[in-house]
Amino acid sequence: MSEKPARELWGDLAALKKIGMVQQKQKEYFALRLRAVGGDLTSAQLRKIVEVADKYGRGELHLSTRQGIEIHNVHHTDIENARKELETAGVYMGACGPRVRIIVACPGNSTCRWGIIDTKTPAKELDSKYFREDTPHKFKLAVTGCPHNCAKATENDIGVMGAILPAWRGDACTDCGLCVSICPTNAIEKRPLPDGKSRYVLLEDKCINCSICTSSCPADSWVVEKRGYNLFIGGTMGKIPRLGTILKKLLDKPELDTLIERSLRYYQKNGRKKERFGHMLDRLGAAQVKQEILDGV
């Protein structure tokens, strides 16, 4: 391939896009989109990327919106050599076109004080299960550690979010009122009791499962009753933005895996070409599709 002139690559352009080699408007040149799951790279990998950009490109790197790195301005005669050299450092190509794209993730509980879940393991699992699978249109997955939503789970076709369900244990409560003051959605209500004390009540329909109350409560009176994953489907930005629809809250890991699998298969079966998952939901009726995915129809 590397010996062929650019005009002979036309027939292979779709195949090249599939492995993250994207022809630039300067037709002899390609952008090499690299795969970094959750944006994680080692310093050795980064050094190799720099080396390849100097050797085969023009020393120009671009940080993509999906935590990846692109090497721009690589001549078509060099793309294969560049790829082989990157692979020696364990750096592999990304993806472009109508398929599952690089998985995005925040650092999760590995370093973040708010992280509820380990994001890196599920991101790697999703990558090894689904990366580059063909879909009707592009398909993006993100894993975010908590409802602060730094990895923007609700802007992806599939968004996984770490979540907790808080519960109030009255015996330890000192009635300081901090929880009511800091809950971001006013999901905690203080109700007076006849003996002059107070009862604190969680309004579950308002709660976004964020752990601010359980982390901050001075008396540890708000406790984590359940820890799990909130799953959003059908989020997208682009030309017609649409935030993800909650499929189900506080899932355990096997349930999460099952519902992601069903969602992707449903889209592969029912989505139209150039139709994002969320727009398919709107066309068919989100409530109906949700039910079918939950029921495993």
């Binding site: 000192t174 300081c176 009122g177 901090l178 009511v180 003051s181 800091i182 601010i212 982390s215 901050s216 001075p218 008396a219």
Partner: protein, 77 residues
């Protein structure tokens, strides 16, 4: 409940992490179980300072909503 406040700090318009640093310094000057009153802005300050205070072993004993800020009483641990 009446509180015997030993020290007061108005930390409105003091951003993170300086609001916590000032809270910590004020707590250092108190004896165990003595009370410090701080006024914190809504938003990040309220999200971070009470949690950091807890992590340092002190205890928030009262919070009052003042509109765009909160009055927080902290017992030295």
């Amino acid at each position: 409940m009446e509180f015997d406040i030993k020290k007061k700090l108005d930390l409105r318009n003091v951003s993170c992490p300086m609001n916590f640093v000032k809270t910590k310094v004020a707590l250092d000057s108190l004896q165990k179980d003595e009370l410090l009153e701080v006024i914190l802005d809504e938003g990040d300050a309220m999200l971070n300072v009470p949690r950091s205070v807890k992590e340092e072993g002190h205890q928030v004993v009262k919070v009052e909503n003042m509109g765009t800020a909160f009055m927080v009483v902290i017992k030295k641990g």
